[in-house]
Amino acid sequence: METTRRDFVKLSLTTAAIAASGFAARELLQIQQTQPVGEIAVPLICGMCAGTCGLLFVRRGDSMYILPNLKHPQPGQCARPSSALQLWDHPLRLKKPLKRAGKRGEGKFQEVDWDAALNEIAAKLREIAERYGPESVVITAHDVHRWFLPVFLTALGSPNLVGHDSTCHYPGTVARMAVFAGGPPPSIDPDYENARYIMFIGRNLNAAMGTVRKLAQAREHGVKIVAVDPRAPNIAYSNVEWVPITPGTDAAFVLSMIHVIISENLYDVSFVKRYTNAPFLIKPDGTPLTEKDLGREGAAHLVYDNAAKQLAPHDKAQDPSLDFEGEVETPQGLVKVRTVFKLLAERAAKYPPEVAEKITGIPAATIVRLARELAIQRGVIEDQWFSAKNGSGDIDGYRAMLILNALLGNIDKRGGLCFKEPARLPTALAAVEAMTGQKLPSPKTRRVDLYKYPISFGHFDAVVDAILEEKPYPIKALFIVATTLFPREINLEKLKKALEKLELIVTIDILPQEHVDWSDYVLPDLMFLERNELAEVRWTLAPAIHISRKALDPPPGVNARHGLWALMEILRRAFPDKAALVGYTEKYADPHKYEEYEEAISNTMINLTAKTWGIKPEDLKTALERDGFYVFKPKTYEVRPYKTPLGTPSGKVEIYSLRFLALKLDPLPDWRQPSYKIPQAPDEFYLVGSKDINTSLHGVFVKNMQWLLDRAVWMNPADAARLGVKDGDLVELESLNNGYKGVARIKITNRVRQGVLFTYHTNGIRSALINHKDYEFIKEGVRSNWFSEHQLTPVLGELATNTSVKVRKL
């Protein structure tokens, strides 16, 4: 595709031309005969999902629309930003601050002015923080605004930023942490453009679109793509082998491939010996043998060196044995040891292809073929993003995938699974501390969910428990910032009880999400076209940062203000001294003045980053304003774990997780049945809820999605024929788990496996404020989490939003 060139008009001019012109864009749009004024392009970071792709807001003559920023390292786009102007002047947009006028959940409100809303919230916040401690205040958020929220919370004295993580990327993130000391996505990601063979297990490539572009480049050199999923994801329309799998059985499938690869000696022996802990010797109690066990100085992990025919520290062994099994002499006597590799082989041997076929529904011959293809092509299995949808046991599924990637030796290599190089953009909190010259005191308590789930990245279910039980400490106020609660969480009845018990609920958003009905105050926020932003470029392996520039003011009638300004004003009005700690004073009380506060923080972040990379801050700023992004360097391959040890306890790729061992968890992955009741009878089905390219929380509200998405329950044609169900029929679904009953329309499609029903997780959004005849479609359909009730697993806090139901034709 030819890359078109366009001139960027300087930001100040652009803003003057569009935002400050006094025109609302929709008025501009309706001027039919305007002479073309040339092209204006404003850099944007897409705010429609966490993909945060690089975009341009374009104005040509009287047309305004959004295009991908094709020079950007991670350009857009999908239909969501294409529809962003429908979101901008959406008739359901929250227009004025609202104050609850009925019971929680009723959705009755009165309009209040900004000053009154902020003062009342501030007074309540002060009362709560003084009575119960600042840690009784929780913010839940998704990705929008998240960069700044720790500034507000730390100044207040609360550690409690608890997001959507547990029902989203958590299983993949824990697995990355265990095996590679990786973090949340995209800390590790496939090198898409150079991949030879790529397998997506339960991952719809719904974002980022830059990865779709890179995959398109890989298609030029003949990449093979495999999608293993109970329903065909969007990418399966393209040239992809779709392997329909029984829900909740990914771990068995991957362990079976590991079995094939080990039995057929298809793994990368030298990588596995050198860079993983596969040669470590494990004692009968499960702990690894170290020099200390032999009464020697040091704590190095020991392996059996085939060359020296004796035990040696892993890094000193010439030829670490993968299959040593025997007794070693210690001061305490003889101890039996076996290598990690042996233990892994034994674990995987529980799932020979014939056994895995019975569990996964994938023919044994297909499992063998896929394993061989993957190994021979030195392929890569995608490491996951949005993933908590299969059922409990996901963490082990992802650990198995990462271990299989390691067995192929395809780590941090071209076309393999690679470490993202961070842009080393400081956090907003670090920037504020650099500006004020003082370090903020740390909150006095740990984050509330960590008491229950010690390696959590954010478990809102634990916040719900803390609200209800007042343990480990009371939670009394909740700020819900640009996220959803009801489509996102599980155990919804418990969630409602907790919301009833809170003393203050404040929502900051642009649209009436379901939880708005439960809120005491609703504050209308700016959308991404209406504000500036600075962020690290995600979903690209090279270190890069990008900016978003305000392209439009809110449309007429929408008295929205920057959500972060609202938070800082609440803080200042409640605790002026605490706000002053982060440099926020009354001079920013005007929402436009707040932009100066944010700009000062952004400038500090840019300056510090420039210093880190040894470039001139003004050069970095110029490049950012000109291009919208800056790439610091290309990705350097083969660094970790080759030249730099990993951050795992052993410094190696941990096939056998020492973190898990310390937590008294199984150090090796295994498959377990999902926690919900497994469907047995002919009218019982798995109910899988997941994403599509266009199902993000704000995206589903726009009118285009009435037509691009359906809100039906998908059923395989063979199942439909058996039950006598026709396309468009209404059926009753009854949960096999919590007894919930719901009515849904059936869509008959070959995109879902037999025995499985599929539905989007963003269906059926019900708020009293969704009250426009053209937008009734938003309320249609059912979601799997209504039919799911789940006790989270101890320690890890695994949960399932998938479930099982009985179907009755109406």
Binding site: Y65, I66, G76, N704, W707, R751
Partner: protein
């Protein structure tokens, strides 16, 4: 001669919908009004899926810019015409009387009725024509993240579209209708 044509690569399209929605944004000012002809958004691209065959199958359908366009043949006023300078099939709204013969004649059902003006709509619409005139790509091609679209002159062997056609297996839709369509579907 210049003959501008669209290429859509079925083997690459991931149905993200960017082309469909961007057509709406650029050409129809992000209108939320329904395209009642198609039961769809106001966009010149529609989706057609086969949900019961052996595997999921997708087609994106839009004006095929036929060299022998039935819509041009049946138009009583000359409002629908094939522009000899670029090979595109266009509508002159000043001549159109809204008789809808063209809509019925099109075997691809690529036209829809704009209930605001009473006139037919189709690819390409105003903003894309303006972009092409300015040497830019049509919006659907510019936005596509999957490399599934190309646009250009098939009479120029060095154009991107010609090069892609030269190395691809492709079909044209309903070729037996004799319309000589210029919408190439790479399979």
């Amino acid at each position: 001669m210049t003959r501008l044509a669209h290429l859509w690569d079925q083997s690459r399209c991931v149905l993200c919908g960017a082309c469909i929605a961007s057509c709406n944004a650029a050409n129809y000012r992000s209108s939320t009004r329904e395209n009642e002809t198609w039961g769809w958004m106001r966009s010149n691209i529609k989706r057609f899926t086969i949900e019961t065959g052996p595997r999921p199958m997708l087609f994106l359908i839009q004006c095929q810019h036929c060299d022998k366009a039935p819509c041009v043949t049946v138009c009583p006023t000359g409002a629908s015409y094939r522009d000899p300078t670029d090979g595109l099939v266009k509508i002159n709204p000043n001549l159109c009387i809204g008789c809808k013969y063209c809509m019925v004649a099109c075997p691809y059902e690529a036209r829809w009725l704009d209930d605001e003006t009473g006139l037919p709509r189709k690819c390409m619409a105003g903003e894309c024509l303006s972009r092409v005139k300015a040497g830019l790509q049509p919006v659907c091609v510019e936005v596509c993240p999957a490399g599934a679209r190309a646009f250009g002159d098939i009479d120029d062997p060095n154009s991107e579209i010609s090069k892609r056609l030269a190395r691809s297996r492709y079909i044209r839709l309903l070729e037996d209708k004799g319309t000589e369509p210029k919408y190439f579907v790479v399979v």
